[in-house]
Amino acid sequence: MKKSKDQEQLKQGETQILGMKGQLGDLLQRWGVLIGLLILVLIFSIYSRHFFTMPNLLNIARQTSINAIIAVGMTYIIITCGIDLSVGSTVGLTAVTMGVAMTNYGIPPFFAMLLALLVGGIIGLINGVSVAHVKIPPFIITLAMMTIVRGIAFVITGGYPVYIDSDFTRFIGRGFFLGIPTPVYFFAVIYILGALFLAKTKYGRYIYAVGGNMQTAQYAGINVKRILVGVYVFTGVLAAISGVLLASRLASGPPNVGTGMELDVIAASILGGASFAGGEGTIGGTLVGALLMGVLNNGMNLLNINPYTQMIVQGLVIFGAVYISVLSSRKKD
């Protein structure tokens, strides 16, 4: 048995080294994406004189806001061990809804927007009830909803964009208030409220508990189903807000708008440290993740990098971040 003793000592040594690596991994996981973001900003500032200018920074903020807003809800869902693939289609259908309501039915812009939010909420409700009560895996039900919702958007419009124009929508989508683009205000308010809700209220705690250990949450008397339905409805409404902002900016509701957006949104959450194993993730992290994706996009455009190459770079960034996060979490257990 001497041999096995030596082996165990060896193993102990190994775990110590791994432990140190784990700390480094922790550090990288926690601050790595932020450091990455700062490095990107530095590089783009050096190579492009347009990058670090006020108009461009505001432009980044406005461009990022669309994905970033949904990423708040996506992070909530991922914390509960879920996923929502239907958000991109929800953006499309809500944009179309707003357009049709305004143009075909003459509904005033503000009420058309509310209607769009209602549609987003209903999509979220269907997702949430299916996950919480019917117990369909989130991936499956939201994949189905992604196709269904997109199809509805095409059926309603016959495939053609719906024209949207009014002073109000122009102000919401393209306007400025106190020198800052209007969508950025939505972006800011949703992040502040979203972060406080998750970190400071009991409901936020329940979201973490449900994702971290559903049984423990249930035994603690938490209404697990209500929490699950809640996060999906919330995400549906956020996708609708993005849909409204996007349609207002484009001055039209094209039925294909938001295609593939779910992937960028999920990427932002994951870069921000949300774990598919559940129970982990913060809105601050998600903000950094979303900004990183936005900056990367904008900077590469300014540097005239081939769009196909851009796709590769984006994929590599996601791969790298998730690789680090998986490594460090494996060390911990």
Binding site: Q7, T201, R205, G221
Partner: protein
């Protein structure tokens, strides 16, 4: 007869527990050798040593005359050792034949007809009649168990180890299994049989080994012992000093009562009362339905008939959140799967069921109050942690358990149900929990203590309810009964 498997001083530690303490005995070739002992006696650890899953820190194991240093399960398999675990090792979606031949397919393309024929022969050889074309998922649990045994036996092992094989079998299936085991023994296969059903052990075995607290107590021929003697050997232990003096005694008033609670396949017509400041023990074998009964009473899985009375309020249906609100706390049996949220902090774990009292409008948590109360309870229960924000998974089992106790005390229950509160924690922490249980009684709580350790039941409880097969089998007074009687009741005597 020569011995085929010998242990000499096998020792294995886990953090805080000596799971095997210098165990030495011999298993003779071709015999049916039973290993008995309470939960935690070291049976499963020993099996894992034989199976090459655990490497002992000291001691030697011999197969025949040859020394065996197993480092991986493969080493054990190569020596012809097969283990059938309680959790079955079958692929549900495949057929009986496909399962039997899994990993031993001879050709690239499977040949159903030939494979089915081969499987049929294998089954016949062991004496089990099953349709090879049947999907495993459509078999009864008993048949699956048989199939798993057939699979292990078909490779002509030298030693076949069966871990609690009868727990899901019917009477008929058990006698069928026994004749299979006997015919295997006649063919020269050594069978090691793990069970805590003493009547089966007495019926089947040639030799019996008793383990207790990781120590080898006795190995004897079946003819040399009686079931009573075995029970005594399994439980006799000096633990008096572990338990604090009773601090107070039960009052006359009933605080919690359960009447005729039933749920299909879980518990049947269960009724009991809990008195003010009483410590009521629930004892039974694994699978007796104690945990399931509590889950049903509290509405985790709703009961179908019956009613529950909490502090004078009657409920004909109950949900766990209502039960908590009415003053019941439930410390669950499995810390990891239903007690803690591993990836969250000590603080968040402790306040999880109590956030309603710690939050204001919009559910805003009063973080100063929260920190104070968590630090307060942490100190009261002597929890050792690096900081309130330390993740709970980094605490030791005993400290995790204290956080769980704290979280339920914080909700100020009147009735506290503790399901195996000392499972898997070290002796020191156990004593602290015992001390705490008596303190809680002194403070006016009534406690239901589920435990599989008879010493705990005898050392702490005022009254003992013994459960068996989902029924309340017997109610006993601690003053007038001894450990042996209680264990015998659990075995159904």
């Amino acid at each position: 007869m020569d011995s085929i498997l010998s242990f000499r001083g096998i020792t294995k530690h886990f953090p805080g527990v000596k799971a095997l303490d210098s165990v030495s005995f011999d298993v003779k070739k071709g015999e049916v050798h039973s290993i008995v002992g309470e939960n935690g006696a070291g049976k499963s650890t020993l099996i894992k040593v034989i199976g090459g899953v655990y490497i002992p820190e000291a001691g030697e194991m011999f197969i025949g005359d040859e020394r065996a240093d197993f480092e991986t399960p493969m080493d054990s398999l190569e020596k012809g050792i097969r283990i059938v675990h309680q959790e079955l090792n079958l692929v549900e979606k495949l057929t009986v034949a496909e399962n039997l031949l899994l990993g031993n397919e001879e050709t690239f393309f499977t040949q159903s007809k030939k494979d089915n024929q081969q499987a049929l022969e294998m089954l016949e050889q062991v004496g089990i009649s099953l349709d090879p074309k049947m999907k495993v998922s459509r078999l009864s649990i008993g048949k699956k168990q048989m199939l798993d045994i057939a699979k292990a036996a078909s490779s002509n092992p030298s030693i076949l180890i069966l871990d609690e094989p009868t727990s899901s079998l019917s009477k008929g299936e058990i006698s069928q299994l026994f004749s299979i085991i006997r015919s295997m023994a006649e063919r020269g296969i050594t069978v090691i049989y793990i069970s805590h059903k003493l009547d089966e052990v007495m019926e089947l075995s040639d030799s019996i080994t008793v383990l207790r607290d990781g120590k080898h107590i006795e190995t004897c021929r079946k003819t040399e012992v009686t079931p009573q003697k075995l029970v005594q050997l399994m439980v006799a232990r000096d633990m008096e000093s572990m338990f604090p003096e009773a601090k107070g005694k039960p009052e006359k008033e009933v605080v919690f009562s359960v009447e005729n609670i039933s749920r299909t396949n879980t518990c049947h017509d269960c009724s009991f009362k809990l008195y003010d400041r009483e410590i009521l023990g629930f004892f039974g074998l694994m699978g007796a339905g104690r945990t399931e009964l509590m889950q049903t009473i509290l509405g985790v899985t709703p009961f179908e008939t019956g009613k529950v009375n909490i502090l004078g309020k009657e409920f004909s249906e109950l949900r766990i959140d209502t039960a908590i609100r009415e003053g019941v706390g439930f410390i669950t049996e499995d810390r990891r799967s239903s007690g803690i949220v591993g990836c969250r902090s000590v603080k968040e774990n402790m306040t999880l069921p109590n956030l309603n009292n710690l939050s204001k409008t919009f559910g805003w948590v009063d973080s100063r109050k929260e920190k104070e109360i968590v630090a307060d309870y942490g100190k009261k229960l002597n929890v050792r942690y690096a900081g309130l924000n330390q993740l709970i998974k980094y605490l030791s089992g005993g400290n995790q358990q204290k956080v769980i106790v704290a979280k339920w005390l914080m909700s100020q229950p009147k009735i506290l149900i503790m399901d195996e509160p000392t499972r898997g924690i070290d002796v020191g922490a156990k004593q602290e929990i015992y001390e705490l249980i008596q303190d809680l009684r002194k403070q006016g709580l009534s406690i239901i203590l589920i435990s599989s350790e008879i010493e705990e039941i005898m050392g702490l409880c005022d009254r003992i309810i013994v459960m068996k097969d989902g029924y309340i089998h017997k109610e006993m007074d601690r003053e007038t009964s001894n450990a042996t009687q209680v264990v015998e009741a659990a075995f159904g005597r």
